[in-house]
Symmetry: C2
Subunit: 273 residues, 2 copies
């Protein structure tokens, strides 16, 4: 007989077992992205880009030049060699500036462009509003993993400066966020995809690959997004995906999924099952 919510005489102790079983089964690990989910990042990249544009604009007419698109083309060509991060961006900016100005740009100005990359690496780590409270609330219920992409050295520095490193059971700095990477992260934690919820600002990196594995994802858009991240090709899965306005709403969303799990799997439960 199927036990659960429909039973006539729910017994309190059975309910405790029920709750525990399902909570354990439903969500065993919650992942957070770092850049633009926990702390501000893209704003610093875009500020560097604006300065880059001003420097290059001294040599060429920006109105005639799809500069942003040309930089992205250089960056993408270099991604396979550089991976993500500010050092790769700085090298790509140097390269794009040289190409776009047809080698007319001065060493002085190229040095300024290298400095733009350093500024991004030096940026302060400021948490988004409500993040600390939300992360701590989730940590009270679930083990947390930070899954952040990019330059190892820079990401380690940001994790440290965020003051959040103690809240996470594991910190996974990865070079790419594709289904293979998430599968390896889950294997290291001994958790199945169905038991995992990933939270982040990028459909491409935080949502699509986790849905593809069979996990759940919470998308919290950030006002700024790198063009490269804006392209995501995936099937939305309304049952396994939520879009929230802010981190503060995360604990409620996890509660909703937990409740829904209670209704969905009543047969798994208790003495009458």
């Amino acid at each position: 007989m199927a036990a659960g919510l429909s039973r006539g005489r729910p017994c309190p102790c059975e309910w405790i077992v029920y709750e525990r079983l399902l909570v354990t089964d439903a969500i065993k690990l919650v992942g957070f992205d770092g850049d633009d989910t926990l702390w501000h990042s893209e704003a610093y990249y875009q500020a560097a880009y604006a300065d880059f544009e001003a420097i290059v604009g001294e040599y060429v007419d920006l109105r005639e030049l799809a500069l942003r698109q040309r930089l992205l083309t250089v960056e993408r060509a270099n991604l396979a060699l550089f991976g993500y991060g500010a050092k790769g961006m700085a090298l790509s900016m140097v390269e794009a500036a040289i190409r776009v100005t047809e080698e007319r740009i001065s060493a002085h100005d190229l040095h300024r462009i290298v400095e733009l990359g350093k500024q991004v690496l030096r940026h302060p780590v400021e948490l988004l509003e409500g993040v600390r409270e939300a992360v701590e609330a989730v940590a009270a219920d679930y083990p947390l993993v930070l899954v952040t992409k990019g330059d190892l050295f820079h990401q380690e520095r940001k994790v440290l400066l965020s003051g959040l490193s103690e809240v996470f059971e594991r910190i996974e700095i990865v070079s790419e966020k594709d289904p293979e990477t998430y599968a390896a992260v889950l294997a290291r934690s001994g958790v199945k995809a169905e038991e995992f919820v990933m939270i982040g600002n990028s459909l491409r990196s935080d949502v699509a690959p986790v849905l593809a594995l069979g996990g759940r994802a919470i998308h919290i858009p950030y006002p700024l997004l790198w063009l490269h991240e804006a392209e995501a090709d995936f099937e939305p899965e309304p049952e396994r995906m939520a879009e929230l306005a802010a981190a503060a709403e995360v604990p409620d969303q996890l509660r909703v999924w937990r409740q829904r799990g209670l209704f969905r799997h009543p047969a798994r439960v208790g003495s009458g099952g």
Copy 2:
């Protein structure tokens, strides 16, 4: 009563217990460094440096200029921001070339310098002589961890191209090789420092920090060494350290340590202990 080698009538089954206990106790994990321990690396950096020197030499008299030392000064100042690796080196080369030429270097030549960094990132992964056989022989007796420092993306590529990734139980790409890093690696593997042997070409990165923790280390010098790695400040520990000419000698050295362990801890063993 102390059991062991000095006992009059050794019993075969007791010996098996004895052997197992000690082997397990003595060495539980063997670590290998990557660059210039498993595969060639520094040669590519030094080739890039030679090309860099040739480019800068078109602007300044290299005889009057301690160029290598000046590049190292720039690199070291940038290490705190860039960490290790070829992208940081490329940015530092661009910066050093601009400074040393007092901004006279052309955009064309700076582009050539960026390309030098890319060449290093693209270099083929060639194992040192005898490495594959040695690593496989050690893997037959002990779990292996690869502990390699530098750029996440580049190191992952090298591990993949090395064809050795399957031999290692864990692959740890770290941003710095200090005692804290090794302690974290050992904690993740659940192994004590005394049970760990690290093998690598750098006294500074592979030997000194592991000895400091109480572990053992095998130093296999490589003919070329980055100036930065050449500086190591540590107390040699002849009992816990070996210097070998090639990876092929590693299995024998591990056997020596295992045997010495057998003689040193006889009291721990067997039914009479």
